[in-house]
Each structure stands twice: as C-alpha cells, then as structure tokens.
C-alpha cells in the first residue's frame, strides 16, 4: 500500500488504537482517558487537514474519463469469494467530509469533558463511531463502504441508550432500527449491482466507467437512494432524527447531526447518483418532491416545538433536505450546493447543539419558555447562539449563505416546472426558519434576566475553543469560500459529467 493510502487508513486506525488503549486503562483514570481521546482526535484532525491541504494545493487529474480525481488510493484483496477488496482513496468531496468529521470529533471530545459516569465506555463507543465514519469516507469498494456504515450503527445505539437523556431508550431503539432498515435496502441494492450483469465486482471505479444496464438501474436506484436517504433523514423516514438527536448526549448529537447524517447525502451522491445515472434521471423528480417536503415540513414542525434541541433537530431535517434537494436538481450549481451544504450545515448544526448543551448544563432546562435574558450573564455564549441561529437562516458572511445560494440557483437552473416550483417553495421556507430561529433568540437571550440565572458562568476555555473552531470555520467558508470550493469542484465536476451526460 502506498504511503498516501497508509495516511488515509490512519484516519480510522488511530481511533481503533485509541479504543484499545482506552480499554486497557484501569478504572478511575478518567482524566487520562479524556486527554488520550483529545489527543487522538486532535492528531486525526491535523492529519485530515494536512491531507486536504495537500490535495487542494495540487488537485490530481482523473485517471480516466468518468473517474473522480482520486488521491492516496490503494487496493488490497480481502474476501475473495465475493470480490470484496479493501479499496481506499479520496477525492475532494471525501476530504471535505473527513475534515468536517475531524473538526466535529475534536469539538465533541472537548464538549464531553465533564462526563463523569462510565467515561471509558463513552469514549470507546465514540471512537468506534469515528472509525466507522472515516472508513466510510475513504472507501472505494461498495461493500467496504457498507461495512463501515454498519459499524457506526451499534455504538450509536449504545451512546444514546446509555448516556442520553429524556426518552433515551425509545429514541435509541427507533433510531437504530430505522437506520439498519435503511441499510437493509442498501444491501439489497448493492447485491443487485454486484450480480446485475454478471459483473461480480463491488469496485466503485469500475461502475463509474461503465454503469449497470438501465433495466437494473431502474429498480436498484430507488433502493439505494432511499436506503441512503433514510440515513440522511429523507421524508417520510426522518422520524428517527428528532428523537434520536434530542435524546443523545451533546457530543453525540453534534456528531450524528453534523457528520453521520451527511453519510446519507454522501452515499446518495457517490453511490446512487454517480454509479446509476440512468436511474437518477428517471427517479429524480420523486426525490426532488420528497426533499422539498423535508425542507418545508421540517421548518413548519420546528416552529411548533419549544424544546431547543427539538427545534434544532427539525431544523437539521429541513437543512438536510436542502442537501438532497441540491442533488436532485441535477445541475452544476445544485450538486456543488449540496456538497457545500453538507459541509456548512455540519458545522452549523454542531455549533448549535454544542451551545444548547452549554446552556442546558447551566440552566438545566431546554424549554424556550423557561429561559430569558441569558445574554447578560453569558455574553460569549449569547453571541455565539445568535451567530449559530443567523447562520442557519443563511446570513451572508457565514457558510449557510454560500451553500444555500448555490442550492437555490442550481434548483432554479433546471428549467423543469416541477424543479422551479419546488425551488420557490424551498426559498420560502427561509421565512419559516426565520420564525423559529429569531423567536428562539429572542426568548432565550433577550428580556429580563431570571433570578436564578443571574449568576451563571460564561463559557469555559474548552467551550470557547469549540465555539471558535466551529464558528470560525463557518465564517471562513462564508467570507472566502474559494478554499472549500477549490477542494470540491473537481470532484463535483466528475460526478456531474457522469450524471448529466451518461
């Protein structure tokens, strides 16, 4: 395996090594556990940032027409009986997602600094989740991608069910069963691709150069898109998301909503649309309508809720609908917008969940009605709350605006009536977003300070690092988006060429 391939394999080997190291530590060494995990996620973040920098500085050219511009790739035969290889490589989109995962993982460890019960198990399960996620993003073999996806599902259950709050066991079981149900659809689709024309391969690159026959694509595409869509909270299979994200501990909400849901969008783009372009052309209107319902329905339901976490969870459902909406428009700006929205929304929702967690740990309530005037005792958190909320609205200067602009322009660029109507509806949902976000800001931050809230402490140093890292990256993307665009453009171009001109 080339050294580059070793580097990207390290992104999931480092979490695995951390798991083993944490497991052998004796009980009671919680401080050491936290620092080891912080160091491990920090090293991972630096590694991924370095890889992304190297890639963006010299983007490679695609090896053949139809292939994405890959770097650091390698291929080792694994389960020969089904031609499963350990085939890895990254392009711009993968690196952007890995960068997102690295940032949120690091911030997640910082946010979890004050967990004091069963600390070892918490960090072990979290590292399994991380290992699976990174493994997904680097996989170029469909089966290995599926395997890493499945690896992430069980720690999710354990993390929410053991360390969560509220109706945690119910939420954990619902989340888990629905996500694994989605992966049952994916498995059927993948086996269909393997056997479709007797090709007997799971190699993504082979499918990229020559797609399966159109008759096979006709039934495989909806299975795959729907299966990955469940992971990305597509309507009507989004119901796992609000309960799951709201019951999860803060760091896990951040990671699940920020990165794990993006696995769904990533799978939809890389596996379903890229490899099955005829199927995409055929079925896209259906998924366009579903994602529009996501956007509008999610926004409306968020208006109704008064629990901050539920508001953000439904806002996530709505914004993840924007990702699939961008993909469904089948235009250059739409695809790029979807990818940018994956990155941007990941950062923003993680930031929002982190801040909600900080507020909850101080006020012990998440109900909007019970809080008021928090800006006075906690100005740092208050300002960050405002930034996060306004970014969700698409305020220029923050990443949300860049992504949503691309998505809406791309949606409108597709001249079909359905597309344009849905784009108008989606744009109008910003108004609804304004309702729930501004109302939340007003209720939580403004107004008279409650008696018992007057003495609350502002953000600690760990929390400030988290907020600055997340908000700073979002601002960097919002003010000067060229760096992220340069990272993903080549890869989006490669996918667009396959999807639009099959």
């Amino acid at each position: 395996m080339s050294s580059g391939a070793w580097l990207i394999t390290l992104t999931w080997l480092i979490p695995t090594a951390t798991i083993l190291l944490t497991a052998v530590l004796p009980r009671g060494r919680d401080g050491l556990v936290r620092w080891i995990n912080l160091g491990s996620t920090g090293i991972n973040l630096l590694l991924v940032a370095g890889l992304a920098w190297t890639y963006a500085a010299n983007p490679p050219a695609p090896a053949a027409p139809g292939l994405p511009p890959l770097a650091f790739s390698a291929r080792i035969p694994w389960f020969n009986s089904l031609n499963i290889d350990y085939h890895v490589g990254v392009d711009g989109i993968s690196l952007a997602m890995m960068l997102l995962a690295g940032i949120i993982a690091f911030c997640g460890v910082l946010v979890s600094w004050n967990i004091d019960k069963r600390v070892k198990e918490f960090f072990i399960f979290m590292q399994v989740l991380l290992a699976g996620t990174f493994g997904c993003f680097i996989s170029l073999d469909l089966f290995t991608f599926f395997l890493f996806n499945e690896v992430t599902l069980i720690p999710t259950y354990l993390l929410i069910g053991v360390f969560g709050s509220g109706r945690k066991e119910y939420a954990a079981m619902k989340l888990n069963l629905m996500l694994i149900g989605g992966s049952a659809l994916i498995l059927t689709g993948l086996l269909g691709m393997y056997f479709a024309d007797g090709r007997h391969t799971f190699n993504l690159l082979e499918f990229a150069q020559q797609a399966p026959p159109a008759s096979a694509q006709h039934w495989i595409f909806p299975l795959l898109f729907l299966g990955f869509g469940v992971l990305g909270a597509i309507f009507p299979f989004h119901t796992w998301s609000p309960d799951g994200h709201s019951s999860a501990p803060t760091a896990i909400s951040m990671f699940l909503a920020g990165v794990h849901m993006k696995l769904g969008g990533y799978g939809c783009l890389r596996v379903a649309m890229y490899l099955l372009p005829d199927g995409a052309q055929e079925w896209m209107t259906v998924f366009l309508v579903l994602s529009t319902i996501n956007i509008v329905h999610g926004a409306f339901v968020a208006v109704k809720h008064t629990d901050l976490k539920y508001i953000n969870a439904y806002a996530s459902v709505s914004h993840c609908g924007l990702v699939l909406f961008g993909f469904a428009s089948l235009t250059w700006l739409g695809l790029r917008g979807g990818v940018l929205q994956m990155f941007s929304h990941g950062l923003l929702t993680a930031l929002f969940f982190a801040i909600i967690g900080m507020i909850y740990s101080r006020t012990h309530t998440r109900q909007v009605g019970e809080m008021s005037g928090l800006m006075k005792p906690m100005p740092f958190i208050g300002v960050s709350f405002t930034i996060a909320a306004l970014a969700g609205l698409g305020l220029p200067g923050l990443s949300g605006f860049v992504a949503e602009l691309n998505v809406f322009l791309g949606g409108f660029a597709n001249a079909a009536v359905v597309n344009r109507t849905c784009t108008v509806l989606a744009i109008l949902s910003i108004v609804i977003a304004a309702v729930y976000l501004l109302r939340a800001i007003n209720a939580v931050l403004n107004g008279p300070v409650r008696e018992d809230f007057a003495g609350l402490k502002d953000a600690t140093i760990q929390e400030r690092v988290v907020i600055v890292l997340l908000a700073g990256t979002s601002m960097a993307m919002g003010i000067y988006p060229a760096w992220i665009a340069r990272l993903v453009d080549g890869s989006v171009q490669a996918i667009l060429e396959r999807v639009v001109h099959p």
Binding site: N80, L82, F195
Partner: protein
Amino acid sequence: MTPRLMLLLPDLVLGLLPFAVLAADLFANPRHDHRPGGRTAVAGFVLVAILQVLAPHGLTETYVHNYVIEPWGLLFKQLFVLCGLLASVLSFTYFRHGRGHRRLSRGGEYFALLAFCTGGMSAIVSANDLVMLFVSLELATIPLYVMTAFYRGEEGSSEAAIKYIIMGSVATALILFGYSLIYGACGVLHFAAVAATPPSPLLTAGLLFVMAAVSFKLAAAPFHMWAPDVYEGAPAPVTAFVSVASKAAAFGFLLRLMRGPFANSIETLTPVFVGLAILSMLVGNLGALRQKNFRRFMAYSSIAQVGYLLLALLAPPAYATGSILTYLFIYTAGNMAAFYVFTIAAQDKDESMDVVHGLHARSPVLAAVLMLAMFSLAGVPPLGGFIGKIYLFAGAAEVGRYGLVLFASLNSVASLFYYMTVIRAAYITPVEDLTPLRSPSRALVIIAIVLGAALVILGILAPFHHAIFRLSA
C-alpha cells in the same frame, strides 16, 4: 501410512471413541463419577480433531463402496467434532457429582452417547447410499433423545425428551416413507445409480417427504414445534450441542443429497426452500421477541438462523456449500459462546435473562464475550456473523431473488432488537447485587474468551473463509 488411510483415520478413531469412553467409565473409575468418561471423551475429541487437521484435505476417497469422504465432508466432520468437544467440556463442569439436581448418574454413558452422536453425524456426510444415510441419521438422532432426558427425576427434562422422541419418530417414519417412494422410482439404493435416474413425479414426492423430515431436524418452521420445549427442558450442554450440531448435521444431510443423487431434481425443491426460509425467519423472529427464558430465546433464535441458512441453498451447490459451512462455523462460535456465558453466570439457578443482570460489573470479560456473541448472531460488523450473512444473502441474490434478500435483511434488522435485549440485560439494567462472578472452572472462561476472539477474527481475516470456499468446490 497412505493418504487414503490418513483420510479415514479420524472417522475410525471417532467410531471407537464411545467404546473407549465406556471402558474408561467401567474399569478406570475408582470414584464412580463422570470424570474418567468425560476426560476420555475430551481427549478423544481432541485427538480426532488433530487427525482431521493432519488429514489430506483435497482428496475424495470411497471406502467399501458406501462410505465416501469428500473435501467439504471433511470440513463438516471437523465442525461436528468441534461441537462435540465444546459440548463435552461444558458438560464436564456442568454436572457436578451429587450436587442438587445436577446430579449425573451414569456419567460415562452420557459422554459415550455424545461420542456416538458425533460419529453418526460424521457418517451422514459420508453416506453413499440411502440405507447408510438413514442409519447414520438415526445414529445421530437417537442419542440426543436420551441425552435430553438426562436430568433424571426432573419432569421438564423427561417431558422434553418424550416430545422430542415422539416427533422425531414421526420424522423417521416420513423419511422411510420418502425413501420407499424414491426406491420405487429408481429401483436402486446406491447414490450413483439414483443420480442416473431421470426425474419423475414419484421421485419428487419421495423428495418432499424427505425434505419434511429434514425440516424437522432443522427446526425449520412449520416443523419447529419441538424446539422451544426441548431446548428448555434438556440439560444446558445438551441444548448447546443440539442447537449447533443437529442443525449442521441436517445441512450436511441436505447437501449430501443435493450434490449427489438429486442434483438434477433440486429445481423442484426451490419453492420448498423459499417457503421454509420465509416461515422460519418470521416464526423465529416473532417468537424470540417476548422470551424471558434464555433457552427458549435461543430456540427461536436458532429457528430464525435456519431461515437465513436455507437461503443459501438456492445458489449453485459449490457456493451453497461454502457459504453454509462458513456461516455454520461462525454460528457455532456465537451460539456456544452465549451458552458458555449463560451457564457460567447461572451457576445453580435456572437460566432466565435475570442471571446476566449486571454482568458488565460482575465479570466484564464474560459480558464482552456475550455482547460479541449476540452481535455476531445479529449480523453486526466487524464480527463474523456479518460477513457470514452476506455470503448467505449473496447466494440468494446470485439467482435473482432480490425480494428474498430484502426480506431477509429486514428480518435481520428485526432480530437485532431481541439480541439487544440480552445485551441490555447485561450492560444497562441496574441491579443491586454486584458480587463478582466466579466461574466453577477456569477452562470454561478461557474457552468463552477464545470463542469471542474467534468471532472477531472470523469477521476481519479472510483466509479461513477462502479455505472453506476452495474446499467446497
């Protein structure tokens, strides 16, 4: 020593093993307990396993016209001996001489029966004509009836044994009736000649009767009624043995028929396999959801697992053999690990789910092994059960049965729910009594750990699977 003899040697030793056990029990037993018999059984199984590993693996040999050893048959035999070894080690510690209701009178006979059973199963996959197949099937089944009743004086045990023997006898009658129809269609009993007979409705009818009987052995729905009661009433090591070995033996029986005499007629049986698979998955998964008793839980779980295994029979025989063998090895490791942990945790009590409450604090290692076993049975990566199930589903997908694959995957999802209840009981349910768990025997814990490690290794490293597929061609 010629390769031909080396190939037969393990079976010869396995055939003589029951008598060695009885001899040790009669003549070398100063304290009149089960220990000499048990030790001889364990040593014998280890010896047979070593001889099997040393035997030439790629060879096909026929002995006295009726006994044929093929490469995939040798793999099945290794599986049976592994099951026998694990069951005899578990039994050795489980039956403590003279303590409460676990008193084992005539212990030597118990281990001799176990050895007879394993020998019979070995003969099933080596049969070359119908009579040999029938005799070996009976040799593999009748000792199990007796072993089920080994808790003398305990009603549950005797009741389970009566149910088992009555339903088993019905199955035997069905097989004989099927054989008589097949004989009527072919006029001969030897496999080579049966294979040469063209398919006919009489032959198909005979095959259907045989399939019904095999489905009973497998505990495939709708022939599964005996399984929950027998699993609950029998002594724990017997349940463990039945849950893995009798399933493997039944699949050995089926594959022997599918790859030998009935290779041409197997298309007629495809709807039967599909129907059995769907029903077994449904019955197993729905039945396991509400179980509070660990034994009944494992019974329904086994019924569902048989459903997944039946899917593989739709594929071409070589692939079917490979995928079924791989999954059976992984399933053995998972099931046996679960039984070992529950037996150690239950000590002298009945095995309800309560015995593992708080296991994560009382014995973290055993709780981890139990978690690995449950996740492997549910098909969670990176454990062996995941890749095993993928092999099985790929077998169905290869012949275009994608609806079945989707159905099986969704059932696998549903099964995760009830496997999780066991893990929840061990890890999440709060309990006051957190005294550390001391196992009656160090050997049991070590074997449980090895089985747990095997589940992880089988999920990640591929050479074992490659060897099985290569030998199954």
